[in-house]
Amino acid sequence: MSCALDCELSAREEEEFLKHLAECPECAAEFTEAKKTKMIIREKIVRVKAPQSLVESILRLGTHTNPQAEGSLLFDQL
């Protein structure tokens, strides 16, 4: 069921699954509900943009303008 929902079935498995759904109203109903739940999560969980300051500081990585941060990372790992 989960595999079908997440498009993780092989073509043959999917064919079998759909065949079963056509014959089994219980599974068909459960599958509809499961699809709905997945959709609701995708739709209702709010996505925010990363703050511009953060994006900019990450774009500067590698330009050596951030020696302090690199230093603390080194310290952190040792």
Partner: protein, 223 residues
């Protein structure tokens, strides 16, 4: 194995070796980037920095605090940049970054966080209010009971799940990772991921129906 080497505590000896060999290099030309460094930077921006919004959202959901999330993302990218050479080209860079972020989160934040399984609803409310301004509203055209649910409630329902369930649902439904990628990230077999997804969604559905019932929607589809 899908991913390349993941910077994290388990690979520490390897990382330290890299670290030292890097530090031993002469420090000349610090202000002018070498051609190699420029190439690396360009590739890093194309491959890794494009996922910054997803990483930030994931960090927000883990920490529930914008400042912590920002630090976590910053640290993740610092590590990723440093060890970008060990990223296996052609594999999913977003999955690699998520794994680094998760490791960082465990090392840094989780030790002094709230008890597992305990949900602080006030914290969720505050969190939601703090990000409400920037959200993009979805259309509410359908009169389906699920569509009556508020963002906040769906979020609460998700947060009320045990962490192992919540995590796989987030990675699968929100971030769109494959089972194989998720299995690698949570360090469990694919079968475990599958069963967690199944059980987690069942729990989530029950929780959402409770909210829906509050609004007087009849959720018993058999009747």
């Amino acid at each position: 194995m899908v991913q390349g080497n993941i910077p994290g505590k388990e690979l520490k000896p390897v990382m330290d070796t890299n670290e030292f060999s890097e530090k031993k290099k002469p420090r000349t030309g610090r202000n002018t980037l070498s051609r190699e460094e420029l190439k690396k930077q360009q590739e890093f921006q194309q491959e890794a920095v494009t996922h910054i919004n997803s990483l930030y959202n994931y960090a927000l959901h883990l920490t529930m605090n914008p400042d912590d999330a920002e630090n976590l993302v910053q640290e993740t990218y610092l590590k990723a940049y440093k060890f970008f050479n060990s990223f296996e080209r052609g594999t999913n860079c977003k999955a690699w970054l998520f794994k680094i972020l998760k490791n960082n989160y465990i090392n840094r934040f989780r030790k002094n966080s709230r008890e597992p399984g305990k949900v602080d609803y006030d914290l969720i409310k505050d969190f939601y209010h703090s990000i409400k301004d920037v959200r993009s509203d979805t259309s509410e055209a359908e009169s389906d009971y699920f569509h009556s649910l508020m963002h906040e409630e769906v979020y609460q329902a998700l947060q009320s799940l045990p962490e192992e369930f919540r995590e796989v649902i987030q990675l699968c439904d929100i971030e769109g990772f494959t089972y194989e990628e998720i299995a690698n990230m949570v360090e469990s077999p694919i079968g475990t991921v599958r069963s967690r997804l199944y059980r987690g969604r069942k729990l989530l559905r029950a929780q959402l129906e409770t909210y829906a019932r509050k609004y007087g929607f009849n959720t018993d589809s058999e009747e």
